[in-house]
Subunit: 128 residues, 2 copies
């Protein structure tokens, strides 16, 4: 059993190869199969680039309110306590809403993530 204490957590600034706007990430622990858990803070309007995960991903809304959308699909507004499952290799993005920050837990399945283009302002509005 391993523990990652919130009190000892360090936060990385989301780099602009993967994120748009002000994003802060706390990585925590990795399981034997490569699954790992992070906590992600998005400022209003900030979001990931389009990306997918070989092992899929779960998001759990903690505070604030966010936008999550898979390419070509309708968007979901993520509220605290909502849980989202993203399938392996499904292109998607997540972030705050235009007016609200978002904090979510991210559970990333094992294997690599593939990062694509930034989510344009038009794509960020589409489907909401």
């Amino acid at each position: 059993m391993e523990i990652s204490r919130a009190a000892d957590g360090t936060y990385d600034h989301g780099d602009h190869a993967r994120f748009t706007g002000e994003v802060w990430l706390r990585g925590t622990l990795r399981g034997d199969d490569g699954t790992n858990v992070g906590i992600v803070h998005f400022a209003p309007g900030s979001r990931t680039h389009w990306h997918h995960h070989a092992g899929g991903q779960f998001l759990v809304g903690l505070t604030g309110r966010g936008r999550v959308r898979s390419r070509g699909e309708a968007g979901h507004v993520l509220e605290p306590g909502d849980v989202i499952s993203v399938k392996p290799n499904e292109w998607h993005f997540h972030g705050g809403t235009p007016d609200t920050p978002l904090v979510h837990v991210a559970v990333n399945g094992g294997g690599d993530a593939m990062w694509g283009d930034p989510v344009t302002d038009e794509e960020y509005e589409e489907g909401f």
Copy 2:
């Protein structure tokens, strides 16, 4: 992409074959590899029985304060934002502290859980 809304969540009462005391569980979504996410509410003093998961487990403290311990190891007090990784097939328990409730996210790896004996009052105090 699937979403489980907090607003639509239903809660099951923890049964006495797996839990001691007042426990309420909200199941949410399951990924392709069987990994699933739940939200678990423990009243003070309530706890799981000894158990393990074939695919391991992550716990993320949301509110309150809890106790988590693997058999034969020192215990951890789980605070909000703390993350715990439990290895596959590692016997452990989790629950509230004697004086505080606990709500945590549980990320259960694929495969079966094995449930054992209740955690006695002595075992619940040991290692804290």
